[in-house]
């Protein structure tokens, strides 16, 4: 992403036929179409500054099934940051008065998505304007482009093909069409040269392979991945790099700066995969696999950030509604736990095929649809809402559900149902108002009553020494948020 821009090339006219002809307005070139960007880079990376002052940010925009073009912008850190925060992949942008430059051949495409255009756009703070519009204002024609792969929809490797070819594909760049099995949590680390890094592993599957890792290293693709729904989302990932992982002795894919990911593509090939997802969910074939992965995807040891309730709410306010979840630890108390009053409030039926909570009235699973209508295919599980309180405030309505609730209460849902009321009360007071170490995952959601959706990942009585030291030390291992 670090092409030089020195020696400003003269602004060439609109790239003939490559992007839509710009309108001349007030002496400015205006690409007067909403443009969506299926790819964008992080605003800053190791190679993204020159000296200490210039930052860069690049993205790719598209306004027709055939044509898309790369956009680079360079400038001061504040400008680049505010620009990069002003839109996300899938948003519609209008770019006024960009500089149109010729591409620099191979060098250009080594680190950027391959585009059909022989030009690229350059945005500068002084001359160009980038406007974003909400999806409601977006042209439906543009919206449909979001689900159209940038490559020939038939030009992809099945996961089985990659595995079968094995090491002979090591280092190759190719396209993948697959369904999302699970999305791991982002893991943060510090590189040997003291830079913050992050990594997120997504497991893919298709008819030929039940579990295939694809790894995201940059913030943009990690955020995108966090929006994917396991067993529902299908992705077409163009130009991912596949490698042989010697350590795990398997093939893996990596999202790189050339990669463009199309979520839920509307192609015949993707439709076949969607049907496969549905069928395999119905047959229960995925169940064991999912169980295994849902456990492995939350590794509590990787969660180290300690928050107070107040800090967490402040973080959430600052985050401007970014969709990525926050994982952390709170030393606090469960201040509301209503398990001995009305059992029906804390028990829900789940679908035994996919583990989703089933609709109470019809007792059917919205995910698996009609096949779960008979009550045998559901099972009871905990679904408890608790409040978490510490010395700084309360986080209301946090979810304590399924296996985690069983572990926390120290009893299975079946055992719980057979307990007399006084025993349930006793169980309640083992936890209620006791100082606990609570691992949580918070997702921002404006639809939620409290604005935050909090899931408890683990809740155990805290060691007071550990808790006091942590709160006094305020050693927040803060890394990328």
């Amino acid at each position: 992403m670090a092409q030089g821009v020195g020696g400003h090339t003269e602004a060439v006219g609109p790239a003939q036929g490559q992007v839509r002809t710009p309108d001349k307005k007030n002496g400015l070139f205006q690409f007067n179409t909403g443009l969506c960007c299926p790819f964008r880079s992080a605003p800053k990376s190791c190679s993204s500054y020159i000296g200490s002052e210039r930052y860069t940010f690049s993205f790719t925009i598209r306004d027709s099934p055939t044509y898309f073009i790369n956009v680079n912008s360079w400038g001061r850190e504040e400008y680049i940051r505010s620009l990069s925060e002003s839109f996300r992949v899938g948003d519609c942008v209008t770019i006024e008065n960009p500089l149109v430059q010729s591409k620099e051949g191979e060098k250009e495409e080594k680190f950027n998505p391959v585009t059909p255009s022989c030009y690229k756009l350059l945005i500068s703070e002084n001359h160009s304007v980038v406007k974003t519009s909400s999806c409601y204002e977006m042209d439906t024609k543009l919206l449909s482009l979001l689900h159209l792969p940038v490559k020939d929809p038939q030009d992809y490797y099945s996961l089985g093909d990659i595995t079968a070819n094995g090491q002979s594909l090591d280092g190759r760049i190719l396209n993948v069409l697959a369904a999302v099995m699970s999305v791991g949590e982002p893991k943060y680390f510090i590189t040997s040269d003291k830079r913050k890094g992050q990594r997120c592993e997504v497991k893919l599957y298709d008819e030929t392979e039940m579990s295939f890792p694809i790894i995201c290293w940059d913030n943009e693709s990690i955020q995108l991945a966090q929006s994917w729904i396991p067993r529902e989302t299908v992705i077409f990932a163009s130009d991912v790099r596949v490698n042989f992982d010697k350590f795990r002795n398997c093939m893996t894919a990596t999202v790189i700066s050339k990669t463009i990911i199309t979520t839920n593509p509307e192609t015949a090939e993707a439709n076949v995969l969607f049907s496969f997802i549905r069928e395999s969910a119905q047959s229960g074939a995925l169940h064991d696999k999912m169980e295994e992965q849902s456990k492995e995807s939350i590794n509590l040891e990787t969660i180290v950030d300690v928050y107070t309730v107040k800090q967490l709410k402040e973080k959430a306010l600052q985050s401007d509604g970014k969709p990525e979840p926050v994982f952390g630890i709170i030393y606090g108390y469960i201040s509301m736990l209503d398990i001995d009053d009305n059992v029906s409030k804390v028990i829900r039926n789940r679908c035994s095929v996919c583990r989703f909570v089933v609709n109470e009235m019809s007792n059917t699973c919205t995910f698996c649809g009609d096949i779960s209508s008979d009550s045998k295919s559901t099972f009871v599980s905990f679904d408890i809402l608790v409040d978490l309180t510490d010395h700084t405030g309360t986080l209301y309505s946090c979810y304590l559900s399924d296996c985690i609730a069983e572990e926390t209460l120290g009893c299975t849902v079946q055992e719980f149902l057979t307990l007399p009321e006084d025993k349930r009360t006793a169980l309640k007071w083992q936890l209620l108002l006791e100082r606990s170490k609570i691992y949580f995952k918070i997702t921002l959601s404006s639809n939620w009553r409290t604005g935050l959706k909090a899931n408890i990942l683990s809740c155990k009585l805290a060691n007071p020494i550990e808790a006091s030291q942590s709160l006094l030390g305020k050693r927040l291992h803060h890394v990328a948020w």
């Binding site: 107070t308 309730v309 709410k313 959430a316 306010l317 401007d320 509604g321 606090g332 108390y333 201040s335 001995d340 409040d387 309180t389 510490d390 010395h391 700084t392 405030g393 309360t394 986080l395 209301y396 006084d422 009360t425 006793a426 007071w429 209620l432 108002l433 921002l444 959601s445 404006s446 939620w448 009553r449 409290t450 604005g451 935050l452 060691n463 007071p464 020494i465 808790a467 006091s468 030291q469 709160l471 006094l472």
Partner: protein, 140 residues
């Protein structure tokens, strides 16, 4: 739009319940702010009386820390008060009724040794937080 709505929701919950570890003296002090924010106190103290029964399932006892002593009541609504031994350190959670000078406990049990050893730290942590909170409240 979504974001501002969400921020609104968060802000309106600003004065949510806090659980404050306190010695008897600081509990009495912080209790004057319960009209601004709901507070629940965690107090550790020595049981300094017999446990006596009162009306409506009430159990009364005296808690002491240092020179301060605090009349406490626990109502046996959903469960009985566990057997408590005079002279032992108790851990009580409850609200302080400033008018009647009584600590209404919702949870009472013997304090563990690690709890006793770390309690001063938690009192300190809560004091710092409450001092800062009261300061911002006064500024508004």
């Amino acid at each position: 739009q979504d974001i501002s709505l969400f921020q609104l929701k968060l802000k309106e919950k600003r004065n949510s319940l806090r659980i404050i570890s306190a010695v008897i003296e600081s509990m009495k002090h912080w209790s004057q702010y319960t009209y601004k924010t709901p507070l629940l106190f965690e107090v550790l103290g020595t049981l300094d009386s017999a446990v006596t029964s009162g009306a409506y399932g009430a159990k009364n006892f005296l808690l002491r820390d240092g020179k301060e002593s605090l009349p406490c009541v626990f109502y046996e609504i959903d469960r009985e008060l566990p057997r408590l031994i005079r002279g032992r350190v108790l851990r009580c959670m409850g609200n302080y009724d400033t008018k009647r000078n009584i600590f209404k406990c919702v949870s009472v049990r013997p304090a563990t040794i690690p709890e006793q050893n770390t309690f001063q730290e938690f009192v300190k942590i809560a004091d710092v937080e409450m001092t800062a909170y009261v300061k911002t409240m006064n500024e508004i």
